[in-house]
């Protein structure tokens, strides 16, 4: 017990496992790489997750460990790992699991992760796509690449170091990109003697910061990526911790992506093989559609009816979000790539401006007045940054004035499009709310941006904001289950209403700042209205068309 995993020549033959008690779950898992997939290969669900956090917190080691434990590493790869560990390893005589995922020569030489690695494994019920992301600030854009498609994030924290600036930055980006469920792995728990108090202190600190973000589910778990504690089975060395091991969490956590409830179909390609066929191909970005439905093609606003839906296996009667299909219509109307087909009774209107939260990704800073090519769904248009409202200070999530967004900075801006575009708040539709800004001079990806929720559309505080309010009021929510927090906050909101907030807000400057942060986290528009009169006018340029939606936040 406690001995690090020895090199493979000593132990590989019997696959001696290092974790404390080889439970049934472990034995079941440690099978050949494809073995778990058999019975329900076509019925398994797919979960995409990332590992993120600061440099050296153990992200790559953790993913390597998971791959190893789930049997996703073949013998010849293990033999290669053995050789690589001797050559590049950072773990003495032990296997360095990070080398399973740090696949670029430069990464192995330097012992760091530069770009995101995508790895695959499966258990009985789920297939996983895991993205191991780099911790260095300079590679934030690569981290964002991995985070953008994730359903769940594992955020690592080194137990010796606690919450670091990169922990905050990555948490913010993960939340901004729509990940609502996170697992906080307090790693290297071996190096603090498996001490519960260290773990609890980090948990408390993390929950306080997370309260300012949009998570609805936060699990905090002590692990040792290097020695395997709480990875596939609860560890005897953390008897003070109740709850499932990391892998069980990954197998059971809800991964439901947020697709639009309304039918949204960005036309990707017009399929016109002959005079008798004219179809519109694309992936359904939200909702569902059936043959016979009346549709509206935006931005030009022509209407028609669905004649056929052709899926990968031929004609189908209806189709839903995620499917790649080709639609034909009963009328010859002018539709081209970039248009969006919606249902005829839908009230969506094309827009010319948008308030976006963006992450700058190139050396050339994003500045007001600059023009970019913008990719929205399948549409490519030009937009000008008309205002930069503020930059987010990732240390405390407070807005601060900014003239430009340098690489890796996050801020709130207004875009004005050259043409009518169909956009949606990112929280409602990832395809039409996630924008890629391309520098027209060198075609580089200058920034990614997410469309902010429309002020009017936002109702009462969501569960995530429930957390935020609790923490703001000094109530600590240490429960693993968001439902508990929800239950706690609901009567409070219902009973006391929002009036109590006004009193707090009015009572002092620090609170005003916190309130502004809350608003920033999305408690609009009701709070915006309440807070506006008390808020110090910290930040600059706002623009018409920005409406009440936190233009000056």
């Amino acid at each position: 017990m406690g001995a690090p995993l020895k090199k493979i020549d000593e132990h590989a033959a019997t696959f001696v496992r290092l974790a404390d008690q080889p439970s049934k779950a472990q034995l079941k898992l440690r099978q050949p790489p494809h073995a778990q997939a058999i019975p329900a290969a076509s019925a398994r669900s797919l979960l995409r997750f990332i590992t993120c956090g600061s440099v050296d917190d153990g992200k790559s080691t953790l993913l390597g460990r998971i791959l190893y434990e789930t049997g996703a590493v073949f013998d010849d790869q293990l033999a290669a790992l053995d050789r690589d560990s001797a050559r590049f390893g950072t773990t003495g005589d032990d296997l360095d699991f990070a080398l399973l995922v740090d696949g670029l020569a430069a990464e192995r030489e330097q012992g760091i992760t530069i770009d995101v690695a995508f790895r695959y494994f499966s258990t009985e019920n789920r297939a996983f796509i895991a993205a191991d992301t780099p911790g260095h600030e300079q590679y934030t854009r690569n981290m964002a690449t991995g985070a953008s498609t994730a359903d769940v994030a594992i955020i690592l924290i080194d137990a010796r170091k606690g919450v670091l600036p990169q922990t905050r930055r990555h948490s913010y980006i993960v939340s901004m990109l729509g990940v609502r469920r996170v697992i906080v792995a307090v790693n290297k728990i071996d190096l603090v003697g498996y001490d519960e108090s260290v773990f609890r202190a980090i948990e408390t600190e993390y929950r306080a910061l997370a309260a300012m973000l949009d998570f609805i589910e936060i699990h905090v778990i002590p692990v040792s990526a290097r020695f395997g504690d709480n990875i596939v089975a609860p560890s005897a060395r953390t008897p003070w911790r109740q709850g499932p091991a990391l892998l069980e969490l990954l197998e059971t956590i809800d991964g439901a992506p947020h697709g639009a409830a309304q039918f949204r179909f960005p036309v990707q390609w017009v399929n016109r093989p002959n005079l008798d066929f004219r179809g519109f191909s694309g992936a359904i970005a939200g909702g569902s559609i059936a043959v016979g439905d009346r549709i509206l093609a935006l931005p030009r606003g022509r209407t028609s009816r669905i004649a056929r839906i052709i899926g990968p296996d031929g004609d189908i009667g209806q189709a839903a979000a995620g499917q790649s299909v080709t639609l034909t219509l009963t009328d010859e109307i002018d539709i081209s790539r970039g248009d969006v087909i919606v249902k005829a009774d839908d009230s969506v209107a094309p827009a010319r401006t948008a308030t976006v939260r963006m992450l700058a990704m190139t050396e050339t800073p994003v500045t007001p007045g600059r023009n970019y090519l913008v990719k929205i769904g399948s549409a490519l248009t030009t937009a000008r940054v008309t205002a930069l409202h503020h930059q987010i200070d990732v240390h405390d999530y407070q807005p601060k004035p900014a003239q430009a967004l340098a690489m890796n900075a996050i801020g709130l801006a207004t875009l004005r499009f050259e043409t009518d575009v169909v956009i949606e708040p990112y929280a409602q539709c990832q395809s039409l709310g996630g924008l890629l800004l391309i520098d027209p001079h060198d075609n580089s990806c200058a920034a990614l941006a997410v469309v902010e929720a429309d002020g009017q559309a936002q109702a009462a505080p969501s569960p995530a904001r429930g957390h935020a309010l609790l923490s703001w009021l000094g109530v600590s929510a240490l429960q693993d289950d968001a439902a508990v927090a929800r239950a706690a906050i609901a009567p409070w909101l219902a009973g006391a209403g929002l009036t109590g907030l006004i009193a707090f807000v009015a009572s002092g400057r620090p609170l005003v700042a916190t309130a502004a942060a809350l608003v920033d986290a999305g408690v609009r528009p009701s709070l915006t209205r309440l807070v506006r009169s008390y808020r110090p006018r910290a930040v600059g340029a706002s623009e018409d068309g920005l409406a009440g939606d936190g233009g000056g936040i």
Binding site: P32, P33, H34, A35, A37, I38, A41, S42, A43, R44, S45, L46, F74, D76, Q77, A80, R83, R87, L100, V101, G103, L104, A105, A106, R108, D115, V116, F118, R119, Y120, A127, N142, T145, S148, T149, P257, G259, Q268, W269, N271, P273, F277, S281, G282, A283, D313, A320, A321, G322, Q323, S324, T326, K375, S431, G434, L436, D442, N443, C445, L448
Partner: protein
């Protein structure tokens, strides 16, 4: 994607990628290497553009050393679907006498595959090339984007890859630059076989076990597909029940002893296997980061 099975989600994603590139690039091509991944890629492409025909040609870079059954399967596939198939061989390499036996695997691969591919892409002016590579194949592949930008001399710069958020692919490029596109990026070997079974996709018979004439070369089982593979003094090829997990140039492709003659048997064997599919490929073992180097030089 809720409610969609894992395989159907992968299928939808691949079709999306194929269409996106066709919609935004001028002259795409599908690199068809005849193996199982190419079979799946072609199958997905046919689905993506149905009921129309494929809006791009297929390119096979022929080293002259592929298994004969591969070439027969290639030509039969092109006939069956009425495909526009371009076969390119690096004639400079042929004239210089480059071959996998005396030149060695790395020279042969570089000249006949990498240089051959670059010649063909330049000759026809293709600006986007689909390949069937998957991220689970190899550790540097695991790092590559779905849409990967190449310089005018086809080089990949792994340290300066474009961000690729969501599916908002940036397919823009300057004159001379091109894209390598990997619609199967997120598929695993198991997914590929499950999908071949699900859709009953034809694959080269070499994947199924059969009695074949083989010799031992440094511990690898090599099939003597024709007279060009020299025999050692007194050596006689043995007939053994073997099959292949990946396919390439026959002198560089190791067989596995197997009784798996059907698709379910192949899938069962793969699931029980403890070695990776690339183990049978000689060309990957040249050095620790050989794949990355080859890719930097333009190998797809």
């Amino acid at each position: 994607m809720s409610g969609m099975t894992h395989l159907k989600a992968l299928e939808a994603e691949s079709i999306f990628i194929l269409r996106e590139v066709v919609a935004t690039c001028e002259k795409p091509v599908l690199l068809y290497s005849i193996g199982k991944d190419s079979a799946v890629l072609l199958h997905l492409a046919l689905k993506a553009f149905a009921p129309g025909k494929l809006p791009f040609p297929l390119l096979h870079v022929d080293t002259g050393w592929k298994f004969r059954e591969m070439i027969a399967f290639r030509d039969e596939t092109a006939r069956r679907f009425g495909l526009d198939l371009i076969v390119h061989t690096n004639e400079d390499g042929v004239r210089a006498g480059v071959n996998p036996i005396t030149s060695g695997s790395s020279v042969h691969t570089d000249v006949m595959k990498t240089q051959g591919l670059k010649q063909a892409l330049d000759k026809y002016g293709f600006d986007a090339a689909f390949g069937g590579a998957r991220r689970d194949e190899e550790k540097s592949r695991a790092k590559e984007r779905i849409i990967s930008l190449r310089s005018p001399d086809h080089r990949w710069d792994p340290k300066a890859q474009r961000p690729e958020p969501w599916r908002a692919f940036n397919t823009r490029k300057r004159k001379g630059e091109s894209l390598r596109v990997f619609p199967l990026s997120n598929w695993t070997e198991a997914d590929v076989w499950d999908y071949i079974a699900l859709d009953d996709i034809p694959v080269v018979p070499l994947y199924f076990a059969k009695m074949r004439p083989v010799v031992d070369r440094n511990g690898a089982i090599i099939m003597r597909d024709d007279e060009r593979l020299p025999l050692h003094a007194g050596e006689q090829p043995q007939n053994k029940m073997v099959r292949f997990r990946t396919l390439g140039c026959y002198p560089l492709t190791g067989a596995v002893e197997s009784e798996a003659e059907t698709l379910p048997q192949i899938i069962a064997e793969m699931r029980a296997s403890r070695s990776s599919e690339r183990q049978g490929r000689m060309i990957d073992h040249d050095s620790a980061s050989s794949m990355e180097l080859k890719k930097q030089e333009g190998y797809f």
